[in-house]
Each structure stands twice: as structure tokens, then as C-alpha cells.
Amino acid sequence: MTRRAVLILAIVAAPAVGGAYPQFQLSSGATRCNQCHFAPAGGGLINGYGRDEAGDTISSGGDGRFLHGLWEPPPWLALGADIRLAALANNEDALTGVDTEAFPMQADLYVRLAFGQFSAYGNVSYRPTERTDVSAASHIFSSEHYLMWREGPTGWYARVGRFFAPFGLRLVEHTAYVRRFLGFNTLEQPYAVSGGFVEDGQELHLSAWMPDFWRDQVGVRSSGGAAYYERRVGQTAAWGAQAKLDIGDNDVRGTGGLVGKYFFAEPKIQLLAEADLVYQSFKGLDTSRWQFAGFLGSAWFPHRGWMVQLMLERFDEDMAIKGTARDAVDAELNWFPWAHFEVSLYGRVQIIGTGSDDGAPQELVLLQLHYYL
């Protein structure tokens, strides 16, 4: 394996822990993310309804229950696992050429213990890597662990622990600009306290957080707070508004944005959109900048068990400086042949900079084989 391939794997192979498919939120008939997930804003381990949906609606068939229904855990216990294998071809630019590799991508275990309205949730992940120059501590970690109280599937809730504050579309792809550059990249979960309410027609999440105090930080260290409000319009549309304040060691960032989701029953296409403006000021420096991060995606469900996606992305690092934006076109084919199984073929073309003399396109093709227990 070439050194460059090893470097690419270190980034792309980062597991999408806590990810979810907002593409299914309206298209599957569910209006709330927590109809299928235990977490109040979705992501992570799926609940009994989510497992039923996996077999009955999303996949072409099969039994979505834990262990394919061979053993039913007691009501106070929920377990799960994710295993993901991948192969990629990456063409960074004309300078460095194409790399092709196959590799293990993700191995996660999840457990949730419930006692009435209280629950404890956590995951353990093993990250295989070909890199020999990274710390041993970075191979095994828990990106999410928290205690939660909630009235029920709907109503008020509160939780404390390590998790991402509910914000944005919460896409499964950690490389999406609205995750990658807004503080939601892999392992950037802070320690947080969050509360709010979830109803069929609307939900509100308020969060405050501090940097990881237990293990070394990933990404930009910050303390801060966020608010996310989403309102559903009937069964096929939703809009959201959000704000976030990050106070870092060396900067302060204020983020505001909008989220939109719409499902066309015919021809079964769901649109997803997010747009965020960020104002960043640097401590000790008499300068600041505005940034923009945007995502526009469509998911088409031509047949049960199939999803075809097309996405456009933009991240402008400094809106006042020409040539600091990056744009991406993504396409993905997801096949759910049987409950617990997923095959994904993902392609991405990025234009970095102006796209002319300085922005040679970067192309990536990623094939994933995903099994969840």
C-alpha cells in the first residue's frame, strides 16, 4: 500500500458513528427521527420500530430485528453492531494520480439500558488503520455515551454525556461540508447537556457543551451552545432553523442556518437542503471572516430496497477572499437487498479553489459493504 493510500484511508475510513439517514425521515412515512432511533434527534442505535421498518419498508425483505429475530433482548436492553468494509479509488488531482485500495472501515458495538423513563447509552468503536504513526489511543474509542430522561417517544427530554448537539441535517457522510467544516466531523463529539421536546409536528433541541475533557480533542476545541427547531408541514415537508455559538481557544464562531426537507410522493423523491452562514473572529487578531456552507440533495426511491442520490455542496472558507471556496457534486447508489445489509456506491467530484488554474478536480469513488446486527 502506498503511503498516500494510507493517508487517504485514515480520513475516509473514519466510521460514521452516530450517523443516520434523514433521507428516510419523510419518505418512509415517519415524521420524527426518533421514531426509528432511540436518540431524540436521530442517529445511532435504531429502536424496535426502526428495525421493523428496515425489514418491511427500507430493505427488499428480511427480518430487521436484532440477530435477525433469533433472540429477542429483554425490553430494558437494546444491542447493536455495525461492520463496514470499503474499497476506494481516489484521484486527488493531476499531480498525484489515482489510488485504489480495499480496507475494513468500521466496527462498532452499541448498548442501551432502559429503566422506565431513564436510559444509559453508549458505543465502542474500533478503528482499523494502516497508519503506524498515529497514537494507539485513537484506535478504540467511544464517540457517544450519555444518560437520558424522556417522557416517552414524544414529549420533553434531557440528556447529558458525549454526543453531537442536534444541528443541521445530520447526514451519515461525515465528509459532507456541512459536517466536515461546521464541527461535526468524525470524533468531534463534545461533552454536552441537551434538552427539549419532540412532537409529531415539531421539535426543539437546546444544547450546551464543553471540549472533550477525558481524551484528547479532535477538531477545533470549543465550548458553546446551539438551538435547533424543526417544524413539520403535513407528512411530506419540514423546515428548520438553527443557531450555534462556538467559543474556542483562539476564535469565536457564530453560526446561523436553515434546513428544509420535502418529499414528493410521486415519483418518490425526497429533497434535503441546508444553508449556514458562519461569522468567525480570531482572538488577538484584528480580523474576522464570513463563511458559507451549503448542501442540496435529492434521494429517489425507484424501487423498494433502492435509493439513488444526487447532491451538491459548497463551502466558502472566507467569502471576502476569491478562490477559497470548494464545490462538490456527489452521487450515491444505495442498495438494501435484505434487512441488515447495505451496499453503497458513492462518487464525488470536488472543485477546490477557482476551478481553473488552481483547482484541479478531485475525484473519489467509494464502495461500501455494510452489515448491522
Partner: protein, 118 residues
């Protein structure tokens, strides 16, 4: 044509100076505006992973080195600027998944040319 050439040269000169004047040419700015957001990721130069932590980049003050932006294991590269530009004999450039826009590389070039001011 003879009248236009000096104007083009002046325009080019202005463009060059703009790159070095429109943003702070200090490591404090480059570190917080470019390096940390792009390099301190989970699989690379975060505090957690500390990829290549055996050494530090030439020209980067040690008090900024808490993210362990390092190069010693890379062998043929010799400095931060070369890493982000991509050396002629390298098969990658940094960051390998999200190369920097040329405008950012130009800013790092300005910082390098200015003697790596803090």
C-alpha cells in the same frame, strides 16, 4: 500593445501583493484559519491521533505545535509549504483528502517569504 504590457505587469504585481495583504501573514492566523480546521481531524493531526508526531514542521513555532503538525516520518518533504503544495517527487499533498485552495497556499507562501512571522 507596448502601452498595455506595463499595465499588465502592474496588475500582476498588485495581484501578488493583494494575496499577501488581504489576510494576516502570521502564523497565528494561518494556524487558526487554515491548519486546525483542515488538519486536526480524527485520523490525522488531531490531539487524539497525533499522526507523524515524531517531529514538527520546520518554521512552525513550538508553542503552536500542540496539534502535532509533523512531518518527520514523511521523509522527502522538508517544510510545511512543500507539504501543502505537493513536492515534485511526492505522490500526495496535504491534506490528502481536501487539498488547500491555491489562495491559502499562496498565503502560506507569503508567510514563508516573510520569514515565518509568528
Amino acid at each position: 500593445m507596448m502601452r498595455i504590457l506595463p499595465l499588465l505587469a502592474l496588475a500582476a504585481a498588485c495581484g501578488s501583493s493583494d494575496i499577501c495583504s488581504e489576510r494576516p501573514v502570521t502564523f497565528s492566523y494561518i494556524y487558526n484559519a487554515i491548519i486546525v480546521p483542515n488538519c486536526a481531524t480524527s485520523g490525522c493531526h488531531s490531539q487524539l491521533s497525533q499522526a507523524g508526531a515524531a517531529g514538527s514542521l520546520e518554521g512552525i513555532p513550538q508553542n503552536f505545535n500542540n496539534f502535532n503538525i509533523a512531518y518527520s516520518s514523511l521523509g522527502h518533504e522538508s517544510d510545511f509549504l512543500t507539504l501543502v503544495k505537493g513536492a515534485s517527487n511526492a505522490d500526495y499533498r496535504m491534506p490528502p483528502d481536501q487539498p488547500l485552495p491555491k489562495a491559502d497556499i499562496d498565503l502560506i507562501q507569503c508567510w514563508n517569504d516573510a520569514g515565518n512571522p509568528k
